[in-house]
């Protein structure tokens, strides 16, 4: 598997979440995702970018184009140096929220992914890695 390109978007405010959606949409288009898959990737990006801003006290998104043989994909890495997630399994459950949201962001995004990984350490920060393959 090789990375075919990458781009970084800062995530500090609500406006950055909008920009992240737009940049991810452009990448999803270039990767050749179907309309439904584009929508899924952009929706997950929106959820996870908001998490980075509201729970992680801001951070950044790195977008990577992927190629594995003939298969193309997209990897989104959301990183923050925020408080971390004490109980990841609980955070992945639908309806669990420490904020004012619906608690669908993390678990819902996982359902929209081909591969999904959360690396977190309390007091250090969180990294959420979302990967979606084409087709």
């Amino acid at each position: 598997m090789v990375a075919t390109g990458c781009e970084t978007v800062p995530l500090r405010s609500g406006e950055d979440v909008v920009i992240a959606r737009q940049v991810v949409r452009r990448w999803a288009l270039e990767t050749g995702f179907s309309l439904v898959d584009q929508t899924k990737v952009v929706t997950a990006a929106s959820e996870l970018a908001r998490n980075t801003v509201t729970h992680g006290a801001g951070g950044k998104l790195t977008i990577e184009g992927l190629q594995n043989g003939h298969r193309k994909g997209l990897r989104l890495i959301f990183e923050d140096q925020g408080p971390g997630i004490p109980d990841v399994n609980r955070a992945l459950q639908d309806g669990y929220t420490t904020g004012t949201g619906l608690g669908l962001g993390l678990g819902g995004s996982k359902r929209l992914a081909s591969e999904f990984e959360v690396r977190t350490q309390v007091g250090q920060g969180t990294q959420v890695i979302f990967t979606r393959w084409k087709g």
Binding site: G14, E15, T39, T43, S46, R50, D94, G107, R111
Partner: protein, 130 residues
């Protein structure tokens, strides 16, 4: 400050969301709409989301809140024009928009609103919101 316009047509309020909303804009629409429902004594609200390429849990929650608040304020809300890809994604995300009435397009949404309003006039003073 940036605002989503709310149009009044007879007994109804019309909103067409044409921009990619950041969260604060979505919240201000929620506030503006409840204000306008009271001030204009609207019987219904039609929200057109056909331009929205993405509805995430935040926007979904806003639509649910508007529907719930308008119901309490004696008005019906219909969300129209959801794109098929958005509907598929919303369900997979885990958001079923319970309590939000939908119609395929503005025309169907308007006739649904009119039906609901006519029904409520027959029943009496609009206490069928339960």
């Amino acid at each position: 400050m940036e605002r989503i316009p709310i149009l009044k047509m007879g007994d109804y309020l019309l909103v067409s969301i044409q921009v990619d909303m950041h969260d604060r804009l979505a919240l201000s629409l929620q506030d503006d709409l409840t204000d306008r429902i009271v001030k204009s004594q609207a019987k219904g609200v039609l929200i057109d989301i056909s331009s929205l390429e993405v509805v995430d849990s935040f926007i979904g929650r806003m639509l649910g809140n508007i529907a719930a608040m308008s119901r309490i304020l004696d008005a019906n809300t219909i969300v129209v024009g959801m794109r098929p890809a958005v509907a598929i994604t919303l369900v997979e995300l885990g958001l079923s928009l319970k309590g939000v009435s939908t119609a395929l397009n503005v025309e169907k949404g308007m006739s649904l609103l009119e039906q609901q309003t006519a029904k409520r006039k027959v029943i009496g003073n609009g206490r069928n919101g339960l």
